[in-house]
Symmetry: C2
Subunit: 350 residues, 2 copies
C-alpha cells in the first residue's frame, strides 16, 4: 500500500496522541490538524514535535460553552491569544477550521475525528459537513456509544454515494478489543458470550483526559450524557471522592455490541462491557480482558481470552489501533468499498 | 461482500474439516473437492454431509509412494476401488484431478490447498500448475514452514501478473496466532518479543491427523522433513513411546516469524514458536498462548497475551481461521490486490 495522508480534527488528548503515535507508523503522514481555534496544514507532513510542544498543557477541555472558563478553572496553562493549536508556528487562526480541512480534502486520505462527544450528534453532524463539502475518503472516530453508531448507520447510503468509508468505534473499546473478540471468535461456529472488562489507571494522565473521565461518568446509572455534560469540575471531583477514586462500571453502553453484531460475530445482546477507572493510581485497578465463549464445530464449549498488559496505557491502546484501523480504512476506500464499517468488519471476514 | 465459492485440494484431516466448518460460514460455498483419486464438483454447492460420510475413515495418509500400503497398514478402512473422495456419489475418478479444478477455475473464487507437505515444494509446484493453467483468484494454504513461504515469495511477480492472491500460513500457527500477535502488537510502537506456545491433545483425533504428527516429528532436533517422511508407522509409534506420548518442541521452524516480519510487526528473529503435542490425551498438555512484548509510545514495557481455551481442538483453531482468511483473500483479490500475503497482512495494517 502506498503512503496515506491524514488529518486530525481536535487536538485534545486523543488528537495529540494520535499525532504522536503516527510518527512510529510506516507510510502514514499527518498533513493537517485543527481545533476550534485554528488549523495547521503541511502536505509534506506536519512537524509533530513542534506542534505538540507548542500546545503542551494546552488541552482544550471543550466542555464549557464560552470556550475558556473550564480550562482556566482547571489551571491548564494558556498561550495568550494563540489558544489551542494556534500556538504552533505551523498553524493559523480560522473562523471555520473544519471547512478548511474539507476544502483540502482531495489531498487527505483519512480524517480522524478526535472531537468531544458531549453532544452525541456532534460527530454525525461533522460527518454531514464532509458529505455536503464533497469529501471522498476515510473518516474514522474512536467513539464508544452504540447510539452514535446508529446515527452514522443512518447516513450509510450517503457515505456510499459520496465515496466515504466511515470507520466507527476504532479506539480501544470499541476498537482493539472488538477486533480481538472477532479474532477470538474464529475457533467457534457459534459465539454465546463476549465479555469485555477494562481497567484504566489515570493518575498522571488525568489532566489530559478529563473528557474521557466525564464521558465515563455518564455511564454510571445515576447519570447520562446530558447530566454529565452539565457537571462542574468540582462535582466531578465529588463523584470521584464518593468512589474513593476508583469507579466501577457495569453494562456500559459501549458499541462493541452492535459492532460485533454488524460483523456477524454474535448477537449484540450477548456482549457485555464493564470496567474500573482509577484516577488516583497509574496502575490499572484490574487487567483489561476480552473473553469470548462459544461452541466449536466439534461440539466443545470453550473460552478464548485476550489480555492487555497492565503497563499499557489507555492512550497506547486507543491510538495504535485507531491508526491501524485508519490504514485498513484507506485500503478499503481505495478498493471502492464505501459506507459504514466497524473494527470487526476490518478483520478477516468470519 | 457477495458469496464466495471455493475448492479444496486434498480430503485428509484439514480438507475434510474445512468442508465441515464451511457449512457454518455465511456466504461461503464449497463447489469442488479433490484428492489424488478423483474430483467432486457442484457449482450449486457440494453436499458436504454426504461427501464426509461417504469418505469417513477413508483418510488417505498420502505418505507412501505406492498410494496404498500406509493406509492398509494403519488399519484405516478402504472403500474398494472408490478410494478417497471417489467414494462420494458426487465424485468421479480422474487421472488429473488438479487439472480439472484448474479448468473450472473461472467459477472458483478460492482454492484451499490442504495437501500433504512431506515434499516441501509440493504446494509451490501445485501453485505453478495453477499459474500455467491461467487461474486468477485466491490460493490459500495452512503451511507451517518458513522455507515454503520463501518459495512462494519467489513466485510473487508471477502471481501478481496472473491475478492470483496467494495467502500462506493461514491455519492456527501460523494463522490464527499470527493474526493475534499482529493485533496484540497494536498497543506498542516497538515489538521486542513474540512467544507462541501451543498445546495439542490428539488422542481421539490421532487417526485423522497422522500427517500432522509426522510433520511435527520433523521439527524435533534429531529429524528433518526428509527423515520424518521415511519413518514407518512403527517408528513413529516408537518415538511417541520414547516421549511417553507427549512430545515437547522448541524453536520450531514455523513461519510466524517471517510472516510477522513481512507485515512489519517485528523482526523474524524476535519470534519463537514451541509447544507440546500429546497423542494419548484429548486434554491439551499446556494452554496455547501468544505473548507479545513491546514498548508503548509513552515508554512502558508490557506484554499483551492471547489464550485459546483448552477445549478448542487443533481442528477448530485451524479451519475457522483458514476460512476467515480465505474470505479476506477473496476481498483483496476482488480489489485487485495480487501477490503473496500472510495472515498478519490481512489484519488492519500497522
Amino acid at each position: 500500500m502506498n503512503d496515506s495522508t491524514f488529518a486530525v480534527l481536535g487536538t485534545g488528548g486523543i488528537g495529540r496522541r494520535a499525532l504522536e503515535v503516527s510518527q512510529y507508523k510506516d507510510s502514514l503522514t499527518p498533513v493537517a490538524a485543527c481545533d476550534r481555534h485554528g488549523v495547521a496544514f503541511d502536505f509534506d507532513g506536519l512537524e509533530v514535535d513542534e506542534l505538540l510542544a507548542a500546545t503542551e498543557g494546552n488541552i482544550d477541555n471543550e466542555v464549557s460553552t464560552d470556550g475558556g472558563a473550564a480550562t482556566a478553572e482547571s489551571g491548564v496553562k494558556q498561550h495568550g491569544e494563540d489558544r489551542g493549536v494556534v500556538a504552533s508556528s505551523q498553524a493559523r487562526a480560522s473562523d471555520d477550521p473544519i471547512r478548511e480541512i474539507i476544502d483540502h480534502g482531495d489531498r487527505i486520505d483519512a480524517v480522524l475525528l478526535a472531537l468531544p462527544n458531549y453532544e452525541h450528534d456532534f460527530i454525525p453532524r461533522t460527518a454531514d459537513r464532509f458529505l455536503e463539502g464533497g469529501y471522498a475518503g476515510v473518516m474514522i472516530d474512536v467513539l464508544k456509544r452504540s447510539r452514535v453508531i446508529d446515527m452514522l448507520e443512518d447516513r450509510s447510503d450517503e457515505f456510499e454515494d459520496a465515496g466515504i468509508t466511515f470507520i466507527c468505534g476504532a479506539g480501544a473499546t470499541p476498537g482493539l478489543l472488538t477486533g480481538a473478540a472477532s479474532l477470538a471468535a474464529q475457533s467457534f461456529v457459534e459465539v454465546t458470550d463476549v465479555d469485555i472488562w477494562w481497567g484504566v489507571g489515570l493518575k498522571s494522565g488525568y489532566e489530559d483526559n478529563r473528557g474521557t473521565v466525564r464521558e465515563d461518568i455518564a455511564h454510571l446509572p445515576e447519570y447520562d450524557i446530558e447530566t454529565a455534560r452539565d457537571l462542574s469540575d468540582d462535582e466531578i471531583e465529588a463523584i470521584i471522592d464518593e468512589h474513593d477514586g476508583a469507579i466501577e462500571f457495569e453494562d456500559m453502553e459501549h458499541a462493541d455490541d452492535v459492532l460485533l453484531e454488524r460483523a456477524g460475530v454474535c448477537d449484540a445482546e450477548d456482549v457485555s462491557v464493564g470496567g474500573i477507572l482509577d484516577v488516583r493510581n497509574d496502575e490499572k485497578p484490574t487487567t483489561t480482558t476480552v473473553r469470548v465463549t462459544g461452541t466449536t464445530f466439534d461440539g466443545e464449549t470453550a473460552t478464548n481470552a485476550f489480555q492487555l498488559g497492565d503497563a499499557t496505557s489507555m492512550e497506547a491502546n486507543v491510538n495504535g489501533p485507531a491508526l491501524g484501523y485508519l490504514k485498513a480504512g484507506v485500503r478499503r476506500n481505495r478498493a471502492g468499498e464505501y459506507g459504514v464499517y466497524g473494527p470487526a468488519e476490518l478483520m478477516p471476514g468470519f
